[in-house]
């Protein structure tokens, strides 16, 4: 099994979520982060002076998926989160040893 982590633009969350659900993904976990990348922050004007703000608000998504679903899930996120503009973000795939569903104690693919 794999843990797919994606850093995306906040306003893309809804689309990504809908796409993943339509792929049959049963769950995901989302948090708000600040990201820093090639986008190199944003320029903000405050009181008439210009500033470079290095960290940009992003959304971080975690999805645990079965091995055979990984490619489909990555592709879905890619498609749904892409705007084609800088700052679209990254997807990372992490191998995992085990998943447990707390409610039932099920392990592995069952637990998803």
């Amino acid at each position: 099994m794999k843990l797919v982590i994606a850093y995306i633009k906040p306003f893309k969350l809804d689309q990504v979520k809908d796409e993943l659900r339509s792929q049959g993904v049963a769950g995901m976990s989302v948090s708000e982060i600040r990201g820093f990348g090639r986008q190199l922050g944003q320029t903000e004007v405050y009181r008439g002076a210009e500033y470079r703000v290095e960290f940009v608000p992003k959304i971080r998504i975690e999805v645990v998926v079965d091995d055979d679903a990984v490619d489909r899930v990555v592709a879905s996120v890619e498609a749904a989160a892409r705007t084609g503009e800088i700052g679209d973000g990254k997807i990372v795939v992490v191998p995992i040893d085990q998943v447990v569903r707390i409610r039932t104690g099920e392990r592995g693919a069952e637990a998803l």
Partner: protein
Amino acid sequence: MSEGTIAWLLVSSALVLFMTPGLALFYGGMVRSKNVLNMLMKNFFTISIVTVVWTLVGYTLAFGTDIGGIIGGFDFLGLRGVEGDALLFMVFQMMFAIITPALISGAVAERMKFSAWVLFTTLWALLVYPVVAHWGFAADGWLFAWGVRDFAGGLVVHINAGIAALALVFALGPRKGFGAEVMRPHSLPLTLLGTGILWFGWFGFNAGSALAADGIAINAFVTTQIAASVAALGWVVAEWLRNGKPTTLGAASGAVAGLVAITPGAGFVSPLSAMAIGLIAGFVCFWAVSLKFRFGYDDSLDVVGVHLAGGIVGSVLLGVFAQSSINAFVPDGLLFGGAGFFLKQVAAVAVVIVFTFVATYLLARIVKAITGLRVDDNQETEGLDISLHEERGYVLAE
């Protein structure tokens, strides 16, 4: 005094007192969240300090029997013999003595020690404010006696606080990261709330300064409303044109700039003149707040840009727009044929600027020698709330 006038002045005093918590919120919203409590605290504590100072000594220095036009004598020490109407006048004036140093606190936000602020405010409320108040407000004060007019405190409150802020900023130095990092207001809703309270309280400030519930008070009320509105309009239009977006901070700052600028003339100029004054103040103060970037002084929350600049605009324009037909206690301004009065107003502005700048800078050096002025670098990074007060502004998840 009639009961109607007593009622009005009691209300006005309460309104002016309410302005200081309003100012605390106005400023508190503009700092970063790690410094919000320190900002609020500096303002609230100023109420405490100045109330004591004014009761015991300040009032008599400002309004005691005149000594050479310069200062009041000690006759009202500890409010001796101050009763009835005089007590009412005392407390109305107390509220002005409170908010004036409170205004300064915005310029030195996010870095000045709390202990230094306590000492500074005590000394300033004792040694600087009563002097300028005597000059401008007391019947025998030399500026007033000379013919200068300051309806509700353009000189005594706003220029006085604004130039003191500048002196203190020079003594203190800029915040870490000033000019390089953007230091955004952490809660503009708090700032807008503060603006609302200030605007509301300002009716007591300006219309209360008529010292009666009469036509002058009505006139002051109306000019206050108009100038605040138009200055907000002016500021927002200016930034809309220049930076492409109208901002809420601009609207709030503009409103305050207008309120400042109409203060010296509220009971002396017509409603339409107030419109002109407000518009000019909106433009000038919008431009004035950008000076700190050009000249590199860290007037953190724009006390100089709004109160000094707005106070100057208002005091000088009073010399232009004053109408003796509105209020017999003022001569006509430039526009209505009175050049002399205009020049006196300009001179008075210069006098207060020089006096208060020098006096404040000296006080700042004294305070520095005793308590030090700034928190250390780590405290500044961590924020003053935790480092000085061991409190956090917001504990939203627990």
